[in-house]
């Protein structure tokens, strides 16, 4: 670089700074005046001498022999129905100094809890594989290490409101990744803001908070029934770390139709496989250090892609199954990996839900793809399988936090996640599914309810995530949506080559189109969703209603590493007109 260039650059930079400082411009103003766009000949383009870009990723897990331990099953947490416990529940915060502050529970009257659960979040020792260390993981409750999954489960029913006392007994002096501040989010639940587990509503060790789960249909419409939800910690800036530590659970929600009883005599019951044949498969992706302890790269801004796959808390377990139908509830907890699942024998199965919400009709498939936080219920029939061993295999290549490469591996090369060991043929009274089995009709899309159309554009600016050009500020409301109206949202990925699982809290939605192409009947996305797999340069149009509660909710990327770097916006449901 010649000397006068350097001088003029310096001078220009100095003048720039002085101008900006003199004018005391705000971020918004700078955007407006274009001062925040890249460009202006302020800097030489030569940049730094760069080695091949591959930050982090230096850690490889120790070898773990696959399929030597049985898969732990999630067992439903038995709540209390004792009158004393129910009487103790209050809409307002009690005078107990240990109870964390919150707004009074909305719609309390008529939705008073009928079941009470206690979560005690604290470290518990667990060995996720014989070749790995016994290590502290964080869980919501105690569990039998020999048989039970460390992940908690609740079986809930529509019309049966519940209350969760979420106790934070994590160590205040905790060292290492994770933050012992917590806020439990029940993902996809139709819950009031104060019970949503908003990222900014975290509370500290030694205190507790109550979460009211009314288990009510959105807008009283039973077509809005949710089926497979999950809860996880959502602490602002630390969600990925705290989820990685283990604060994960599932929440199964039943009603008259999806009753959780395959022998239900109610003619309206769908009779999907139930009891021990209704099995959540919670898939976590991790990497372990040389000591066999779960390792989290605190200096990776893009996403954590691990080399170990856990099902229900254990690395590559086996599962002994009967030769009959099963309902598997697949959940991808991330933190950052996307999947495409197949069975090693290529067998077909029925997809019956998307994001845990029943489809109108089963869809026959031989693979399902899942971005982070998505849930899929599938019904698999082992009765006609001749092999004695079948694997659940991931065939989607995914190397870094930008998203999957798109390359589909052959099942022989893909990652074997779970081994099924097939046993005897047994009685099966669950319904035989066909393409015309009615599951749950979709709510009508009525455009006359739409009061506003909004654009949400996710972008990347200097390694930071912006939504509609704005950085996240918890006190700035990016959208006010009027209660009892509907809106059209256009969600756009303008971040270059990145894929993002975009999640909105509170209300599920229906996807109308992707890049202008309408979603047709029979498409698995013709469904009720709460996560969108947003491909590079894609715009997804959704229809969403706002009902029953008011308050703040986030819209964010569920690659939780992106989320922890503020890839988030805030919308509020309000009584007043939308803005």
């Amino acid at each position: 670089m010649v000397r006068h260039d350097i001088e003029s650059q310096r001078e220009r930079a100095r003048l720039n700074r002085m101008e900006i400082i003199d004018a005391k411009l705000s971020r918004r103003e700078m955007m407006k005046y274009g001062l925040l766009t890249a460009g202006g000949a302020l800097v030489a383009k030569s940049g730094l001498s760069i080695r091949a870009a591959s930050a982090g990723g230096a850690v490889t897990s120790p070898a773990t022999t696959p399929f030597i331990e049985p898969m732990r099953v999630l067992t439903p947490h038995s709540g209390s129905r004792l009158q004393d416990d129910l009487d103790h529940c209050t809409a307002t915060v009690s005078d107990d100094p240990k109870e964390a502050a919150r707004a009074a529970h909305q719609l309390w009257k008529g939705n008073e809890p009928q079941v009470v659960y206690n979560f005690t979040q604290k470290p518990r020792l667990y060995r996720p594989h014989p070749k790995l260390a016994e290590q502290n993981i964080w869980t919501f409750r105690d569990f039998n290490k020999d048989t039970e999954s460390p992940l908690t489960m609740i079986h809930a029913r529509y019309g049966e409101p519940s209350m969760v006392y979420s106790h934070n007994e994590l160590p205040a002096n905790h060292k290492g990744y994770g933050n012992p501040m917590v806020t439990t989010h029940l993902h996809n639940a139709h819950n009031a803001s104060e019970s949503d587990g908003n990222p900014t509503d975290y509370f500290g060790p030694g205190s507790y908070k109550t979460f009211h789960y009314p288990n009510m249909y959105a807008g009283g419409d039973e077509r809005e029934a949710l089926g497979f939800l999950w809860f996880h910690d959502h602490c602002m800036d630390y969600t990925s770390q705290n989820v990685y530590r283990g604060l994960v659970g599932t929440y199964l929600l039943f009603d008259r139709y999806d009753s959780g009883n395959e022998e239900d005599t109610d003619s309206k019951a769908i009779r999907l496989p139930s009891g021990k044949y209704d099995v959540p498969l919670v898939i976590e992706n991790k990497v372990y250090d040389k000591n066999g302890v779960a390792y989290f790269d605190l200096f990776n801004l893009d996403g954590i892609i691990g080399d170990k796959f856990l099902v229900n808390g254990n690395v590559q377990p086996y599962f002994e199954v009967d030769r009959r139908r099963y309902r598997f509830r697949l959940l991808n907890t991330g933190p950052s990996r996307f999947y495409q699942f197949k069975f090693s024998n290529g067998m077909k199965f029925w997809q019956v839900s998307n994001d845990g919400n029943l489809l109108p009709f089963p869809i026959e498939r031989d693979s399902v793809s899942m971005s982070v936080a998505e849930r899929m219920d599938i019904v698999v029939d082992f009765s006609g399988v001749t092999d004695n061993i079948v694997y659940l295999v991931n065939v989607l290549e995914h190397k870094d936090g930008t998203g999957p490469t798109g390359k589909i591996l052959s099942t022989g090369v893909g990652d074997k996640i779970l081994q099924f060991r097939l046993g005897a043929k047994v009685t099966d009274n669950s319904r035989v599914l066909t393409k015309t089995t009615e599951l749950r009709r979709l709510p009508d899309i009525n455009m006359s309810e739409v009061k506003k159309e909004r654009n949400w554009t996710f972008n990347r600016r200097n390694g930071a995530w912006v939504v509609n050009g704005e950085l996240f500020n918890r006190n700035v409301v990016n959208a006010r949506c009027q209660k009892n109206t509907a809106e059209i949202w256009n969600i756009t990925n303008a971040s270059g080559g990145w894929s993002h699982p975009i999640h909105m809290h509170y209300e599920e939605f229906q996807i109308l189109s992707r890049n202008g192409v309408p979603i047709k009947d029979g498409d698995p996305e013709k469904s009720r969703k709460d996560v969108i797999w947003l491909h590079p340069n894609e715009t997804v149009k959704i229809f969403v209603r706002f009902r029953d509660f008011t308050g703040k909710y986030p819209l964010h990327c569920h690659n939780v590493v992106h989320e922890d770097h503020a890839m988030m916006a805030r919308y509020d449901v309000v009584d007043d007109a939308s803005s």
Partner: protein, 207 residues
């Protein structure tokens, strides 16, 4: 520490070796060990030498990170895009954090353009923005800067964007070395968000 990282550090140490009088080669090769926590990075911080706008020389881990609450971002004075805004917001954050900055909280802005950003230039930059005590503007050799940039994760996975100074990573890492807790947010985020992040680093006192 795994071999890959150790070799990487050894090769870089050759470049900085002998910069600081009284520093042995072993000091420079050794990454900062710090206290090891379950599953947390091991030897994450290269102990490279940086020079501050105050004229001081500092080893990255031993003098700047160890047992401190810190904010770290990377910048260069010629940046007309996000650095002016980041620095402004960090100045506001410094004001909001009050006298803790310089006592138990320390702020570091490390230049990505050390040839251009000489000591007088970064001193002038700090003065222009009204930076208070407890916040150092720092420069290291180009190779050490690159080593540090990678160690801190200020890397874009797109090689073209990564090679372009104008699209450098505008993120501030905040961390508390004593408890191994680290988070990050955009460096040009509103100061209240940056401060909210820093406040998550205090060990929690039971009331």
């Amino acid at each position: 520490m795994d071999m890959r990282r150790r070799q990487f550090l050894v090769s870089s140490a050759v470049i900085v070796g002998g910069v600081l009088l009284g520093t042995t080669m072993a000091d420079l090769i050794a990454p900062a060990e710090g206290e090891s926590f379950d599953g947390s990075p091991d030897g994450r911080f290269p102990n490279i030498v940086l020079h501050g706008h105050d004229g001081g020389a500092y080893r990255f881990y031993d003098d700047l990170i160890r047992d401190k609450i810190v904010l770290i971002n990377m910048f260069f004075t010629g940046c007309g895009d996000i650095c002016p805004l980041s620095t402004q917001h960090l100045v506001q954050a410094q004001e909001m954090l009050g006298d803790r900055v310089g006592r138990d909280i320390f702020m570091y802005s490390i230049t990505l353009n050390p040839e251009l950003d000489t000591e007088p230039v970064i001193r002038d930059y700090a003065e222009t923005y009204g930076v208070g005590p407890g916040w150092l503007f720092l420069r290291a050799s180009r190779d050490d800067t690159e080593l540090l940039r990678r160690a801190l994760g200020f890397v874009d996975p797109d090689p073209a964007l990564d090679a372009d100074l104008e699209t450098h990573i505008g993120v501030v890492k905040f961390g508390n070395d004593a408890i191994g807790r680290w988070g990050a947010c955009p460096s040009f985020a509103d100061a209240e968000e940056i401060v909210a992040g820093v406040r998550t680093l205090d060990p929690i006192k039971r009331t």
